[in-house]
Symmetry: C2
């Protein structure tokens, strides 16, 4: 029998290759996506659930920044419960689903396309209903995912957004920056020790707060989701700005905090937050481009791309915390891959 978390580790380890293959298809993706940016859409709407929804948060920041148009996240229940009919003529609608077969996501996506949007599917299956409903598809090529917690699909979704941004507008990085990421991801995967130590810091805590801002907010949400699903920890991802203005009160109870920083524009605020946290009791786990951080990431990655690297540390932390708690992250109790196929 495989040791606990062997499947999740195998899939995490495929990420450098998945990323390389996706970036190598840059030209093909540009050809498919660029026509959808002309004329510029009045707005963009993203359709996703679960970990795909956390990837969509990254896309939300990135596309609004480079396309200079508001980005909305669809609320599926508006359509499925209340029968909303939304006019979005000329908008870009982007649907994210690992399988491309989640009925709710396909349904909402089709309704937005019917409302006038140009549809883009981001999925592993270019023959899926989601892809068929779209004017263009970014096939992730992440391959089959057997472990319940999605890892390689999430990272590939982030990279798909980066490639879409390159196709549609000027971006705050050079092509070489994106090319360099797979080596960074590989280096982190070859260095699991920091996450094992951080898992020991989390210990038996009943809950945790995962904090990030700007581009890293998506990683805070994904770290929290992975910790919930694999380590059964009540982990909440929050914007550090929101957290400091109220929820920080809960730290009286010494919950551990995961603080995610990329050394970019959000770094000053994250450092202030870390000082606030040090005055309170809980242990602090810093994920940052700093060799002294508990979960170090490489320096020099442009902040708009940093989540593609930092999410690997979040995956490692979830996996190691689950194992330290005697759980098998591949098959969390009470979950099955069927319910996870979105």
């Amino acid at each position: 029998m495989a040791p606990p978390g062997a499947q999740m580790l195998a899939e995490m380890s495929q990420q450098p290759r998945v990323l390389e293959s996706l970036v190598a298809r840059r030209g093909e993706i540009r050809d498919a996506i660029a026509p959808l940016g002309d004329p510029p859409p009045p707005g963009i709407v993203l359709v996703a659930r679960g970990s795909s929804d956390n990837a969509a948060i990254y896309g939300r920041y990135l596309l609004e920044l480079v396309l200079r148009r508001p980005v909305a996240l669809a609320a599926p229940s508006l359509f499925t419960l209340y029968g909303a009919r939304v006019a979005c003529d000329g908008w870009l609608a982007i649907g994210l689903s690992q399988s491309g077969r989640t009925p709710e996501i396909v349904d909402v996506f089709e309704r937005l396309v019917a409302g006038g949007a140009r549809g883009v599917a981001i999925t592993n299956d270019a023959a899926s209903p989601l892809a068929q409903a779209a004017a263009a598809c970014v096939a992730l090529g992440a391959g089959e995912e057997l472990a319940v917690p999605a890892t390689k699909t999430f990272l590939a979704q982030l990279a798909a957004f980066a490639l879409m941004a390159e196709a549609l507008a000027e971006v705050p990085w050079s092509p070489a920056d994106l090319d360099a990421l797979s080596a960074h991801v590989r280096a982190l995967i070859d260095d699991p020790e920091p996450a094992a130590h951080a898992a020991a810091v989390v210990g038996d805590a009943p809950g945790l707060v995962a904090l990030g801002r700007g581009f890293q907010f998506s990683v805070a949400l994904e770290a929290a989701l992975k910790l919930k699903e694999t380590a059964l920890l009540l982990a909440e991802g929050m914007s550090s700005a929101d957290f400091r203005h109220g929820p920080i009160a809960v730290m009286q109870h010494a919950f551990p905090a995961l603080s995610i920083s990329d050394g970019g524009a959000a770094a000053g605020g994250m450092a202030e937050l870390e000082r606030d946290l040090e005055e309170r009791a809980g242990p602090l786990i810093r994920l940052a481009p700093d060799p002294r951080a508990e979960l170090p990431i490489p320096a020099g990655v442009p902040e708009a791309l940093a989540p593609i690297v930092s999410v690997v540390r979040a995956q490692q932390l979830a996996r190691e915390t689950a194992i330290a708690r005697g759980l098998d992250p591949d098959t969390p109790p009470g979950l099955s891959k069927v319910t996870m196929t979105r």
Copy 2:
């Protein structure tokens, strides 16, 4: 010295009056807001933080449903950290701030107006910078708020969205339905016993999950925020649909769950969720239009208005849980009203 939570209770008790006064200004609000709906905006963007952001979630569902245009929630850090410049010609931008003076919210709102949006301010202070930057203002008239956890401002913000919806489009309720809410709110305030019992059920739990869908998702988020700020409980608000597909794994640890239902289109899904939860260990607190629910609310309120009633139960639960834990909800440790003034 006043007993713990006296100020919060006093402000909660003002809510029927605040609501009546606001609804009595229906004609004035219609005159101010209706012109902004013509021509119809291509989209709507909401700007808020903290509990105002939870009110914005309600507005997000309501306005997208009745205006049939996508609604986005602004990400302030895009503007303040990354200097985003967003074109939103003809959009409706709605800024929410209790004081109308939170620099970040005013800043983002002004940038959206500069980008071409028609601005609406929802605030207590019609002379505030937020109101001055707007083409129209809905003055909440909630009066001074001294307790740290905002209550009456939140409820008034929900009502302001309902009145805006009436001014801009056809709504799924009659004017009499909205008029009837203040009596429902008063009846709940006069009935604090259920919340005291529910607080005993929460007991010393380190965390809690607050679950709702559709319109009630905003109340789940606000219940969680109030429980964090007042009772120092790591309470997370989640969409019940998201929760069932992964995070439900954490219930192995028997966290209490608050399930918020309005008896409307989301009720079937909430009932399924409650069965899922009963198979797991944690105590279940149901907030529902059912006399047998732990936190009963009146039946017959249209689902699109139900959050204006159900949030009162959430406030009561937070206040009673704080008191049961020996805390003073008026002045949570580590927070001050200064940081709360958004």
